[in-house]
């Protein structure tokens, strides 16, 4: 559905993305993951025809983004990073206008605007002026705008940014539902979001693709449970040494004073040491106060991905 070939974009002499290639099958939900300024927005803007690439090209539904931009634009729904809202219009008028720009007939428009309003839970606000809406509602109107014409491909730039946790959950469910009959590419810098929503992840850093895989494979390759944070009552020195001796522990960082310490234990890949550590603490007669796995943060992923060439 989407084939990206050697896409490169320079802003003057500044390289935004370089040699990006990937392909997305029909019906897939793919996450574009990366820190700020990694090139996510640039990639999406090129796919939507808002920006031209410096070199390379992409095809969406078989149409070339450079030579058949109008055909491509007919088939995409796009939520830009800054939600493009006309603040003087009501939600209904805005969605109707968006649908009209996408060439929907009047009858079809009425039907689709209603459907989009329902999907995004905006029923009670259809006549409210957009300027009076909160950030979360604006984001939802932005999503409604992207899907109002039932495009084959949805391109969503940070769809869950700036909205509250309940709405984030709703939005993710919405995206998953939409994934049944749309091909979706979304960008985010929140790692858990990707594993919840996406079937595949493309990680971009400094304009280059550093990894493409399923979220499960990725976290497996990056070391499963990763790190444990343990609070133990017991002599700091001895506890640290004992933890270090455990097979599969690669690093222990200790902080605390007297007999109460907090230990950050980094484990080797795909080893779950929680039970062993609990047993050890009990055996020594220390007190296990707290233990939790620390999920991999995006920083960890990048550290790992940039340090370990063998990935």
């Amino acid at each position: 559905m989407i084939e990206v070939e050697n896409l490169t974009k320079y802003y003057g002499r500044f390289m935004a993305i370089e040699d990006i290639s990937f392909s997305i099958k029909k019906g897939e939900i793919v996450g574009l993951l990366g820190p700020n300024a990694a090139g996510k927005t640039t990639t999406m803007r090129i796919l939507t025809g808002f920006l031209p690439p410096s070199s390379g090209t992409a095809r969406i539904a078989g149409y070339d983004i450079r030579d058949q931009s109008l055909e491509v634009r007919r088939r995409i729904g796009y939520l830009p990073e800054t939600v493009p809202l006309y603040t003087d219009m009501s939600i209904w008028a805005y969605l109707n206008y968006s649908a009209r720009l996408r060439g929907l007939s009047k009858a079809k428009r009425n039907e689709r605007v209603e459907a989009a309003i329902d999907l995004c839970h905006l029923q009670d606000y259809a006549d409210v002026q957009i300027g009076k809406l909160s950030k979360g509602f604006r984001q939802r109107v932005g999503i409604a705008q992207a899907l109002v014409h039932e495009p084959e491909v949805l391109i969503l730039d940070e769809p869950t940014i700036g909205i509250d946790p309940i709405q984030i959950k709703e939005t993710r469910q919405l995206i998953k539902r939409l994934g049944k009959d749309h091909t979706i590419i979304l960008s985010t810098h929140i790692l858990p979001e990707v594993s919840m929503v996406c079937q595949r992840v493309i990680i971009i850093n400094e304009g280059h693709i550093v990894a493409v895989d399923t979220p499960d494979n990725l976290s497996l390759r990056l070391g499963g449970s990763g790190r444990l944070q343990i609070d133990v009552r017991g002599p700091l020195q001895q506890v640290t040494v004992a933890l270090r001796r455990l097979a599969g522990v690669s690093e222990v960082v200790c902080e605390g004073q007297d007999n109460r310490g907090r230990y950050l234990v980094t484990c080797d890949a795909d080893k779950d040491l929680r039970e062993e550590i609990a047993a050890l603490v009990v055996r020594q007669g220390w007190g296990l106060l707290d233990m939790q796995t620390i999920g991999l943060t995006l920083e960890d992923v990048f550290l790992k991905l940039t340090l370990r060439e063998d990935l």
Binding site: F50, M89, R102, G103
Partner: protein
Amino acid sequence: MRNTVAIAGKELRSYFASPIAYVVITVFLVVTGLFFYYGLHDFPYEATVRHYLAPFYFQLLVVMLASVLTMRLIAEEQKTGTIELLLTAPVRDLEVVMGKFLSALAILVVMLAITLYYPLLMYWFGSPDSGPIFSAYLGALLMGAAFVALGVFSSTLSANQIVAAVVSIGVLSLLLLFDWIGEEVGGDAGGVLGYLAFPNHYEDFYRGIIDTEHLIYFLSFIAVSLFLATRSLETRRWR
């Protein structure tokens, strides 16, 4: 074409959703109304629309109002990011430009149409010559349309509405002054400047003459401005 109508309709609604259209139309009516009153007061036996459509100040007023009307059309979309919706929709750049142009042109038409009650008053109390009234209005419409087209172009140049308005007012003022500058310079260069100056092309209209030379001047002024606006919008993508 369908897209042009959609964009023009949306812009027209937003003109009236904000105070812009009302303020511009009010100012226009107050000023032309004063011209009309004093014109009739000073020359009570001349039933002519020249009182208010001919003065230098009228032309300057249209320069100002056309620039203010058009300044937000594309600049605002660039500022708020809605341009991303417009340029990623399956709409040609020319359709965007035409839609914006037609919406501002519609306001201009409304403005001029309301002043038609001045000639109606003259018909009521006297017997004015219809020909020159028609040609004067045609001239005012063409001149205004040309200014609006240039205003749309300058609105594509910046995300800042003030910059857009100042560029438009600046260029149009120069074209207004080329009339005098041309005479000062003289020779071929002066002739070229004089040709570019729109007052030289406008004056025949309010005198009752419709000359194809002047029609062509204003129509090509409009075409060139809209062409430049379209190209400017296209290159926006490449910047």
